[in-house]
Symmetry: C2
Subunit: 343 residues, 2 copies
């Protein structure tokens, strides 16, 4: 192991107290002494043992992320990696660690309880909120600062969250398609037990209602977001007696599958049919290399991670403040996948 504070102190002929204070920037220590201590610490490659430190201070300087794995289909949320990358930046800038718990949703409650009771984290980030997510009241009861990436419809008591305006985003996208003359518009959505997906559907319905169009259940597909799902949904939609001329896709990967179904049917994107996709700006799934392929509602999930982490750290520093919330708007960026209705 490395040098301990006590050893460092004795080689300097000082008490541990003084050394600790010198290194932690307390005022009651002579400037020359402080310099001497700092030099010696660097020379000895001294790093305070984080476990001892956190035991003494009562803080762990770590944030917990719990990644739920649905036991039924065992899907790992693909946006998770980029969100983590963003959050990680903020944490390391602030000198915090990130501890990850991957738990099947059946054991979620126990996982949260453990994390808090064992004192291994100062705060918790909640991923992938569902409707009426029970984790939110649980964490509130546990009295630990936490932050939700997304929101949970049906949870009334206030809590801290960061979300994108999914409803407005999909409403605008739908309106845009309506403006282009499309009236049969399909929604190829994520699992609507997830809060974000439900809000997107509401936005879609808002726009249809505004335009006086009765929503057609046959045009609305929902499932775990994968390429094969996009393809299947696309094929099924095209097989309808009165097929849609425009499509909304909830993620880039779904859009890949959807595009395949459309082009398989000999349709050209942006001419024969229109597609708008939600683009999370995942680093490994760019929307084209320089010009956007798809018209898309864009919002960087990595940036969301950065911001959410900062907000959580603020909550950790001052747990008594009222909940922090941030609703980010998306950008509707024009690509080559939309055009006016020609059917």
């Amino acid at each position: 192991m490395g040098v301990t504070l006590k050893e460092l102190a004795s080689t300097l002929g000082l008490s541990p107290t003084t050394v600790s204070r010198a290194l932690n920037g307390y005022p009651e220590v002579n400037a020359r002494t402080r310099q001497r201590v700092q030099d010696a610490a660097r020379a000895a490659n001294y790093h305070p043992n984080i476990r001892a430190k956190s035991l003494a201070t009562g803080q762990s300087r770590a944030i917990g992320h719990v990644i739920p794995i649905s036991t039924s289909h065992e899907i790992v949320n693909p946006i998770f990696a980029d969100f983590i990358a963003g959050a990680g930046e903020s944490y390391s800038r602030a000198g915090y660690d990130m501890v990850l718990s991957v738990v099947p949703d059946a054991e979620e409650e126990a996982a949260y309880r453990n994390l808090v009771a064992r004192g291994s984290v100062d705060g918790i980030m909640v991923h992938g909120p569902r409707l009426q997510d029970s984790r939110i009241p649980l964490l509130r009861d546990l009295g630990v600062p936490f932050m939700v990436h997304g929101r949970s419809s049906g949870v009334s008591a206030p809590y801290s969250w960061l979300d994108i305006n999914n409803r407005r985003s999909f409403r605008r996208a739908t309106e845009f398609l309506l403006d282009l003359g499309h009236t049969r518009i399909a929604l190829v959505n994520g699992l609507e037990t997830m809060d974000f997906a439900m809000r997107r559907r509401l936005g879609y319905l808002d726009a249809l209602q505004e335009a006086g169009i009765t929503p057609d259940p046959a045009l609305m597909h929902t499932a775990e977001m994968t390429e094969p799902f996009g393809h299947d949904a696309g094929r099924a939609l095209l097989a309808l007696a009165d097929p849609p001329s425009a499509f909304l896709a909830s993620s880039m990967i779904v859009a890949y599958g959807l595009r395949r179904a459309l082009t398989d049917a000999g349709l050209r994107l942006g001419r024969d049919v229109s597609v708008i996709v939600h683009d999370d700006d995942l680093s490994y799934m760019p929307n084209g290399l320089d010009v956007p392929q798809f018209t898309a509602t864009c919002s960087s999930v990595r940036e969301a991670g950065r911001k959410a982490a900062e907000m959580l750290l603020a909550l950790v520093r001052d747990p008594d403040q009222p909940p922090l919330t941030l609703l980010m708007e998306t950008q509707l960026v024009l690509g080559d996948s939309t055009g006016r209705n020609r059917t």
Copy 2:
């Protein structure tokens, strides 16, 4: 906070020693007493403070994962999420935490040093090894148990790793295409500064050489693995005077792009052209829903995560044992994307 061991002991009228021993399964405690302690602990919802525990034992019961972000292109490795999910299962089964450090590759060395010096982890998992990866000698010098997901060509001293047999896998895939009568075979590979990509190319070249075919540099593309890259590569390859009749793709997402280029050109997969892809079995990127779409070399990265984590934990328990290594073979699974050469 929760109950402390001392409090629990005093309510039970026992010493902390006995309570600690009762809960940790030491033999020198009366069976009845142990039962009493365990009941009381459960009733009081007692969880040992992990920081105190690890300070006392000298172990942190945590494993560090360092996620490198290349500062140049800021890509987060997409397989990371599934690997983490697998590793997380093993860790939580063993009662270990996982701490994540997301670091730009410029600060990597400092990140590893910190993690070790501050004693926040008992072992380290290394992701995405490059050729002659400098992290391996560094970790060896730091004297911390570590495990590499993949290997690093050019590092001669032994170290622990888990890898799939990329070379053999791509060699077999190439041989299979050769057997189908293809002679112009393209390789759409990942970044060849990454060790896995380099090995895949070697396997491809092995098979060509065996067949007496001179490799054509124009048939080999390499870049960060994205859908647009697959598409670009595919289009460029088809534009050749003597285009390939078969393609190897290094990841599912690249294959999506490749397929788009091929079908855009009016070619049918499995009839006009053949494609074999490497399938990491990512949960959110399945190779078809029930039957495989692509002929693929398959290996579950999640399973790799599970196994790698177990091996690392074994190293942590007994750091003096020789390095552990595991080379996993892939399965060549037939899908609809291959057929005999008809050009």
